[in-house]
Structures are given as structure tokens and as C-alpha cells.
């Protein structure tokens, strides 16, 4: 059945192609019919139509990899470690203004009046802007495809504040100190409104309405009910869950509460603005989405797009929080109004409170299982807390279902999700993007089901997980703001991830053997999937030109934010062109200089932009071959290329790339060897992963010590195995500290009490357990050289794997992470006294 799906897909694209050709032919006919036009013109019409590129569905596998699948050194590595690569703030400007933004002290309030007179008197203050000084344009800060699936509910400045830290006024001054002092002298009279912090209470009748403004709206036809703090709603069902529960031997249900977290890029959000020689606004920004940043800034400041240029230099990490357009509008405003360059960098406290966070959620999972291990039904009910604004509200919610539910076979599936506004920090894109929260609930539930039927949790997963050739109705049912794309699994290395991981953690030796004494040990595991790009929505484009020494400039809209995508995409180009990575000069990204790319998100860059690289490099290679054939007097089909040299038949004649380009540039029928190419994906093949954790729990203190963590990942072909492994290790480490220590602590007024690295603990080297990561190669035909995504998936494992390991060690099921000593101890006491609430219901 799966194969049929694939064929149908191929057919449908072929049909589209055919339609285009027919259209072109028709156009030709019509032109001819009207009047006899020169053949050249007719050909041009046909060319115009066929020039609309069609993205390839599959990428063939070469016999041998020369450049990809090799751990080549990251092209920017030496510059980074020598401190010479430039980040946003690493350039100097004369007359630079410093920006500070006054944040709201209240979680929910109307601004009755603002008096900036004394603040303006502070020496060095140049300008102060409040909501009265700026046009009111509602839009979203979420850098997503346009029109966005996030509500337009955020203004540059508003007369209402909706969370502690929300923008009240913008100050620009000669020094940061003057700007800060001025902030303290702005007198604001607030009408404090009742806040609401609990997402479930926010949906109740009579709850304070956070977005009571008239102009908030959604730009696409989707559910939106701000009058009830109801930001988004998704509902889908496959089969009949009621029937599924009837047929089950056991029905289990439990609710999990994945918590707030911040991305903590070590470089805080930073943006510089200046006017260039043509009086255009240039934004030098730490953004994952330069093209979305340009569009949203143009929208907010009511400028034509052509008046803005966004430059993304080196970026100090993003993990999703820099997929938001948070600073560009403010910096743009200041520079346009003062005609001076300016800089704004968030403080660490602002980064925690006013940048973006992981949406905390209430995840209720219910499932039915038969004694033989068949899952008869799964219901997932999600309430996502988006905080004060609806950035990524719908899509993070959809991903809870679409990146988790297809992993296991079940005939009856139900997904109901709601995103709710509260007066807390704003949710956004964060590596994992909903899958982190939902996989936590699902993978704990898998253990619970296995326990209920007395089956080993690994055997239970092996019996039920999706395999090559299979599909899931969820792929089509849950898209991003619209229907998803049906697909079959083309590659799945999950089986090997599981068996190899079991060996490495010594599962059989350690499972269900907690030992005696006060310290008990346990192992736990989980299986994961993610996606690779948003199919038929995301687009990436690439420009490659050749130089007369045989090197190439590759200009990418894709945004390397530290992931190494410049290197990975450079390797893909070198492989296709037949040269070495050292001959690729890769530049990303700049809205003036590079072609469009949606940006670094949705696990898309390697998979999606990699496809555009192949498409483009093939065009360039064809030009090189044509010139070489002409130069050598050989037939085009006889030309082969190896290591930057073109060979004729039998390798008797040869010309180097340098000669080819010099010839094309200076000698005969001169032209620039180069091409531009784009790619969209028609599938979002999941990478797969199995994670294993071994813990020791101190039953006297509740302390959880993580002894070992094993993660195996199938990302198809790893274009650069060391970098792919680095993505895994980094995601695992982030996830571990999220599971065990990272936590937002709020006071009763909604103020975060620990917005600093001293009190919000992210792990460092001394906390490091034994981390063992490995890659399981598969070949994904729809991906460039068989690649799938790798960056996000491994952040989803620690919550369930460690949670399951704690359960295995001491018998308590924790549902409110992080798993701090206090929570473990409290759960142990409840277990001992028998007062532990059993949410799990068993039938029969």
C-alpha cells in the first residue's frame, strides 16, 4: 500500500509536469494561431513556462562518496576558535546609539499614561518612543512561511501590557548607562488588570481576556477565539477510538506537565541597524530567518521590502528563539527616526523573560492495549500555554501530534489540542517544537502499557513502531495550518538504534534490577521521530558561480547559526560538482546578496536546502562539462569529472576546472559559469532515534544521579558524521539539563524569579554523565545523498528516558518535570504511604 502511495506521489508530480508542458504547447499554438511570430519568441514562451522549476522527488546515490559522509573540518572553525569570525556586535560604528527597552512590571495592565519628560532630560538620551509615537500594526513575531499560521496579535508598542517584561517604551541614548537611567525615570501610570497564569483557568468562563483589542486576527482561515483566550485549536481523528477502547484489555490514562524552558543561546539576541549609502535600512541581526525578518520588519515599519537589507553574520546559537523577529523592528525604528546607527542586545534576564520559551503544556494521554501488545487506540489531548502572544501557537501544537503519533501503529487515533493565552512569558519555536512535550507523554505511556500487559518495554516498542514502507494517516491529517502531506516511510533505522543502544546501556543486565539499600538504580528508554522540513511549504534557494582558479562561490539564504550548515551544504555542492570542499567559498546569509531561503528551522536546512544545492550544482556541472567538451573536442557524454579535472573519452584528454573557467571567462563565447536553483520538499521523512538512560536514585534525599545516557540516531546519510554527532550530543545535553534542573520559577504576580544562570541551572562539564552517541546509517531517497534531519530529534529523549529510568529504579512515575530531588522525594513518600494518586486506570 505504501509503495502505491509513493508511486501516486511520483505520478502526481509527473502529472503536474505534464500539465505544464501541455500548457506550454498550448501557449505555443495560441501564439501561432494569432499571427505568425518568429520561432525565437515562441520558444521563449515555452521556456518561460517550463522555467518554473520542479523539485526532484528522489536523489540518486553515487557509487562512492568523495566529499559527503566525511567528517571534514567545519569551514568556519578556525576563524571561530581564533576569535576572528564576526558576530553581530563585533563591528564598530561611529555615533552608535544604545537601546534599552523598558519592560512592564505587571503581568496584565493597561497603560493609562506615560510621562517621559524627566527621562528625556537624562544626559545622553536621544529619543524615547512609546505606543503613541509608532504606527499600530498588528503582526506576529514568528518567522514562518507567509501568510503565517500564527495570529497577528503583537504590535511594536501597545497601550496594554500582557506579561512581566512586555515592551512599554524604547529608549535610545549615547551610552547604555544613560539609556538605563532614562528607563528608570519614565513615569508610567498603569491600570493593573487581573492576570491569569493557569492555561486551564484561562479557558474558563469569566477569565480575564488578554487580547481584548479589536484588531488581533489570524492571517489564514484557521480557528482563533481571543475573546476566550483561545489561540488555536486542532482536532483530528482516525478510525474510532471508542471502539478501540472497547477492544482493549487495558485502558490507561495519565496527564503530564512538560515545563517552561529557555533556549539559552550564549549570545543573547543582538541587532544593529544603520542607513547605507543609498539611505536603505540595514539590519545586522542574530537571526535564524533573515528573509522573514526583512518581511516582518517591512510590515511593522510600513516600508517597502526593497528599503531593507538584513545581514546575518556568525550567530551565537539560536535553537529556535532566533526564529523570532524581536529586535529588528525596534532597531529599525530608532535608526529611521534618528538617522543614526544603533545596537540593542538583550540582557540575560531579558532573554529569559522577554525572548521566547518552550511552550509548557498539559498533555493527557490515553491508550488501549491488548494483552498481545496490540495498541487498539491512542487519544492525545494537549493544552499548550503560549503565554501573552501566540507565536508558533498552532504549529507547535500540531507538531505534538504529527511528530509523535505516527511512530506507533494504531488503527484508532484521536488528537485534540488547544493553545491558550496566559499572562506569562511567550512561547515560541524551540528545538523539538512540540514533539519534545508530546513524546514525553507518549513514551512514558508506552512504558505504562508494556507494564500493564507484562511485556518488556523494548519488545513492546519493537512490535509496534513504524517500519520502512509503512505510512501513517497522521501525516496527511496534521499539517502546519493546513492539511499535511501523505507519505510512506522510505528509510527507518530505528530497529538498529534500539538493538545497538540496548547493548551499549547493557539493558538486559540492568533492567528491573534496582538493587537494595538506599541508592537504587534503573534504566529507561524511549523511541523518537521528528521530520525533515515542512513539505510543500518550505523553500530554499542557492546561487553558485565559478571563479577562474576553479573555485566556487556558493551564496545561501540558508542560515548557519552554528550548526555547521555552511559546511554541510558546501560538502553537498563539492560532491555534485566534483571538486573539494576547500574549493567552495560558502556565504550565508544576506537578503541583498543571497537568494531566498525560509531559514534555519523545522529541521530543514540539510534536507531541503541540500536539495537546492544539488539542483544548482548539477546545472553548473553541466555548463562545465559543455565547455570542457568544446575545449577538448570531445563528445559531451564522454566527459567525466574527478577532483576538479574534466576528462575526455578514455581519460586521454583533460582540462582542469581552472582552465575551463578561464576559457569561459576570457577566451571564446564568454559567459559566467553559474546557476541559481530552488528546492521544495514533497515529503518530510522522519529521522528516528532510540535513547537510553541509567540513573541512580537516592531514596533518602530524592537526588537523581544520571550515570549514563546512550542515544542512537538514524539521520539517513550523515553528510558530516562529526557534525551530526555534535548535533546529537548538544541536543542530548540540553535535554538532560531540561529534564533534571532547568525550571522557571514565578512569583504570584507572574514575575520570573530566577532569570540568570546562577539560578536557572544549565549543565556544564562537571555535571556531565557518560554520554554515548552513535549514528545508524540509512539512505533516504528523497534527501540529498540520502540525508534526513538530525538537529532537533535528540532533544526529545531525556524527559521520557530519564522518567522511565526513575520509574524502573524506585517505582515512581513523575509527571511534573524537572525531576528535582524535592519532587522525587515527595513522590517516594506518597508511594510509601500509599497515598500516591493513581491516575492510571486499568480495565479487566
Amino acid at each position: 500500500m505504501a509503495k502505491t502511495t509513493r508511486k501516486t506521489e511520483e505520478k502526481s508530480v509527473k502529472a503536474v509536469n505534464a500539465a505544464k508542458v501541455t500548457k506550454a504547447a498550448k501557449a505555443k499554438k495560441e501564439t501561432k494561431a494569432k499571427k505568425p511570430v518568429k520561432a525565437v519568441k515562441t520558444a521563449a514562451v515555452a521556456e518561460t513556462v517550463s522555467a518554473i522549476p520542479v523539485s526532484p522527488l528522489v536523489f540518486e546515490k553515487p557509487e562512492k562518496f568523495e566529499q559527503v559522509n566525511h567528517s571534514l573540518t567545519k569551514i568556519d572553525a578556525m576563524g571561530l576558535v581564533c576569535g576572528v569570525q564576526k558576530y553581530v556586535a563585533d563591528v564598530d560604528f561611529k555615533d552608535l546609539l544604545h537601546i534599552k527597552v523598558l519592560g512592564s512590571p505587571h503581568a496584565h495592565a493597561e497603560i493609562k499614561s506615560i510621562d517621559t519628560s524627566s527621562a528625556l532630560k537624562v544626559e545622553g538620551v536621544v529619543a524615547i518612543y512609546t505606543w503613541k509615537d509608532v504606527p499600530r500594526v498588528v503582526r506576529t513575531t514568528a518567522g514562518q512561511g507567509f501568510p503565517e499560521p500564527s495570529p497577528y496579535d503583537t504590535c511594536l508598542l501597545d497601550n496594554k501590557v500582557r506579561f512581566v517584561g512586555d515592551r512599554v517604551a524604547i529608549v535610545a541614548a549615547e551610552t547604555p548607562e544613560a539609556a538605563l537611567e532614562a528607563c528608570s525615570k519614565i513615569k508610567v501610570e498603569y491600570k493593573v488588570l487581573k492576570p491569569v497564569f493557569d492555561p486551564e483557568k484561562a479557558m474558563e468562563k469569566g477569565a480575564p481576556v488578554i487580547h481584548d483589542e479589536k484588531d488581533c486576527r489570524v492571517p489564514i482561515p484557521i480557528f482563533y477565539d481571543p475573546k476566550h483566550n483561545h489561540c488555536s485549536h486542532v482536532e483530528t481523528a482516525v478510525g474510532d477510538v471508542k471502539k478501540g477502547y472497547k477492544n482493549a484489555d487495558y485502558v490507561l490514562e495519565r496527564t503530564y506537565y512538560p515545563h517552561y524552558a529557555q533556549h539559552c543561546p550564549i549570545e543573547p539576541h543582538t541587532c544593529m541597524a544603520y542607513l547605507d549609502e543609498y539611505d536603505r535600512l540595514v539590519l545586522r541581526s542574530s537571526t535564524q530567518v533573515p528573509f522573514h525578518a526583512r518581511r516582518i520588519t517591512a510590515q511593522t515599519l510600513q516600508l517597502p521590502i526593497k528599503k531593507i537589507r538584513v545581514i546575518k553574520p556568525r550567530i551565537g546559537g539560536g535553537f529556535g528563539t532566533k526564529q523570532e523577529v524581536l529586535l529588528e523592528d525596534v532597531c529599525g525604528l530608532v535608526t529611521l527616526r534618528t538617522r543614526r546607527p544603533c545596537i540593542w542586545a538583550l540582557t540575560r534576564a531579558e532573554e529569559f523573560m522577554a525572548a521566547r520559551t518552550r511552550h509548557p503544556m498539559v498533555c493527557t494521554i490515553k491508550s488501549g492495549v491488548k494483552k498481545d501488545g496490540t495498541i487498539t487506540a491512542i487519544s492525545m489531548r494537549i493544552i499548550s500555554n503560549t503565554g501573552a502572544y501566540g507565536s508558533h501557537a498552532l504549529t507547535v501544537l500540531s507538531n505534538c501530534g504529527s511528530k509523535v503519533l505516527p511512530l506507533y501503529r494504531a488503527d484508532n487515533i484521536e488528537f485534540i489540542g488547544d493553545t491558550v493565552y496566559t499572562n506569562l512569558p511567550v512561547g515560541g519555536a524551540y528545538r523539538g517544537y512540540g514533539a519534545t512535550q508530546a513524546a514525553y507523554a507518549m513514551e512514558c505511556q508506552m512504558d505504562e502499557m508494556a507494564e500493564a500487559i507484562g511485556m518488556d518495554p523494548i519488545k513492546f516498542r519493537q512490535k509496534n513502531h513504524i517500519k520502512e514502507g509503512e505510512s501513517s494517516p497522521i501525516f496527511k491529517a496534521l499539517g502546519e495550518g493546513r492539511e499535511g502531506v501523505d507519505m510512506a516511510i522510505g528509510s527507518c533505522g530505528l530497529g538498529k538504534c534500539i538493538t545497538e543502544g540496548m547493548k551499549r546501556i547493557e539493558w538486559d543486565k540492568k533492567f528491573n534490577k534496582p538493587g537494595t539499600g538506599t541508592k537504587r538504580r534503573g534504566v529507561g528508554m524511549c523511541c523518537l521521530m521528528q521530520g525533515s522540513s515542512i513539505p510543500e511549504i518550505d523553500m530554499g534557494a542557492v546561487f553558485i558561480k565559478m571563479n577562474e582558479d576553479g573555485s566556487f562561490n556558493m551564496l545561501l539564504g540558508a542560515t548557519d547559526l552554528g550548526t555547521g550548515s555552511d559546511t554541510v551544504l558546501g560538502q553537498i555542492a563539492a560532491e555534485t560538482l566534483g571538486c573539494k570542499l576547500s574549493d567552495m567559498m560558502v556565504y550565508s546569509s544576506d537578503t541583498d546578496m543571497t537568494p531566498f531561503d525560509v531559514g534555519a528551522y523545522a529541521s530543514s536546512t540539510t534536507y531541503l536546502t541540500g536539495g537546492a544545492v544539488i539542483t544548482t550544482a548539477k546545472k553548473v556541472r553541466a555548463q562545465i562539462e559543455a565547455v570542457a567538451a568544446k575545449m577538448m573536442g570531445e563528445k559531451l557524454e564522454d566527459i567525466t569529472i574527478k577532483d576538479g579535472v574534466c576528462y575526455g573519452k578514455g581519460r586521454k584528454n583533460f582540462v582542469s576546472f581552472a582552465r575551463v573557467c578561464t576559457y569561459a571567462m576570457y577566451e571564446h563565447q564568454q559567459f559566467q559559469i553559474g546557476a541559481i536553483g530552488s528546492h521544495i520538499s514533497h515529503a518530510s521523512p522522519p529521522p528516528f532515534s532510540a535513547h537510553f538512560a541509567e540513573v541512580e536514585v537516592d531514596t533518602e534525599t530524592g537526588e537523581v544521579k544520571l550515570l549514563k545516557y546512550v542515544a542512537g540516531v538514524d539521520c539517513g546519510t550523515a553528510i558530516n558524521p562529526t557534525l551530526a554527532d555534535g548535533q546529537t550530543q548538544g541536543a542530548v545535553m540540553n535535554a538532560i539539563s531540561f529534564a533534571l534542573t532547568e525550571e522557571y520559577i514565578f512569583d504570584e504576580k507572574g514575575r520570573m524569579l530566577n532569570p540568570d544562570f546562577g539560578n536557572y541551572k544549565i549543565w556544564s562539564t562537571k555535571d556531565l554523565p557518560v554520554i554515548d552517541t552513535f549514528l545508524v546509517p540509512t539512505y533516504e531517497k528523497t534527501g540529498p545523498y540520502g540525508a534526513k534531519s538530525v538537529s532537533e530529534i535528540s532533544i526529545n529523549g531525556a524527559l521520557p528516558a530519564i522518567g522511565n529510568a526513575i520509574k524502573n529504579a524506585v517505582g515512581v512515575r513523575l509527571t511534573r518535570p524537572p525531576y528535582t530531588a524535592e519532587k522525587v522525594l515527595a513522590a517516594l513518600k506518597e508511594l510509601k504511604s500509599g497515598s500516591g494518586k493513581t491516575v492510571t486506570k486499568s480495565k479487566k
Binding site: T73, L80, C82, G83, I266, E267, P268, R314, G317, Q729
Partner: protein
Amino acid sequence: MKINTTINGKKHCLDVKANAMLVDVLRAAGFKSVKFGCGEGMCGCCAVMINGKPRNSCITLAGLAEGAEILTVEGMGNPENPHALQQAFAESGSTQCGYCNPGSLIAAKALLDSNPNPTADDVKDALDGNLCRCTGYVKRIDAVLTAAKAVKKTSKTVRGKK
């Protein structure tokens, strides 16, 4: 006020405000490898060597640098002639976004200067004040151990030549 200080082997006379922090002064003087991450001495990306000791420059008053010898990562090596630690970081995949690298490399150099034969635990101790959100630390610990061997080899060769 004016401070006299040696940065990466060169003498500098810098005009600084009494309350200026060293991170800002060094960056204004062109040493952009010194990064700003938290302003509270918690993340370590602003670390520089002051008289041979790694210090977080975001919580160090610039005035304290009077007469001091300061080393930033620019002074450790350059892309043409990198320090063994820089080489090992680059080749091992220890650099992703790279923002924390200057601080971590300074901390690693301070370790190797005082302890040429570190164990993995020594490295973990020495780098604990340098937060990294990208790499998960595994590769950088190996990189420091690799570099330690390379440094020892080089110093042996140099001594041998003498």
C-alpha cells in the same frame, strides 16, 4: 582614567571610566573575541587570562588591569598559526556556534599552563565555568586532552633542539 596594560604581548594605554568593566574596554580596544554572554560572571564566554589566571572580564573592573598582562584568544594563535588547543577544538568538532570558544580556550590554556598532564576530570573541573549550549561538551574534553599531548610533544622537540 588611564590604565597601562599589556594585551597579547603589546603595551596599551587605555582611557577608561572608573566603573568600566574589562569586557567593554577590551572590546572597544578591538579585542572582539572577548564575548558578552550574561554580565554576571556565570557563563564564561568573556574569560581572559589576567597575569596567567582565567578571569571573567564582565565582572572585572577595567581598573584592575593596571600593570597586568592580559591574554585573549587572539593572542593564543591565528588561523595561520593556531595554538594546539585551537587546532584541536577546530578539528574535533568542538566548535559549533563558537561564541563560547574564546572563553573556554582561555580556561583550557590556563589548565595546560599549570597542569600539562590533565585527566578528563581535571579538564571537566577547569572548563566548568564555561557554558556551551551547542556541543554537549563531550568533544571539547577530548580536544583538550589531545592538545595536551600535542603541547607536550612540541615542548619536548623544542627542548631537544636546545
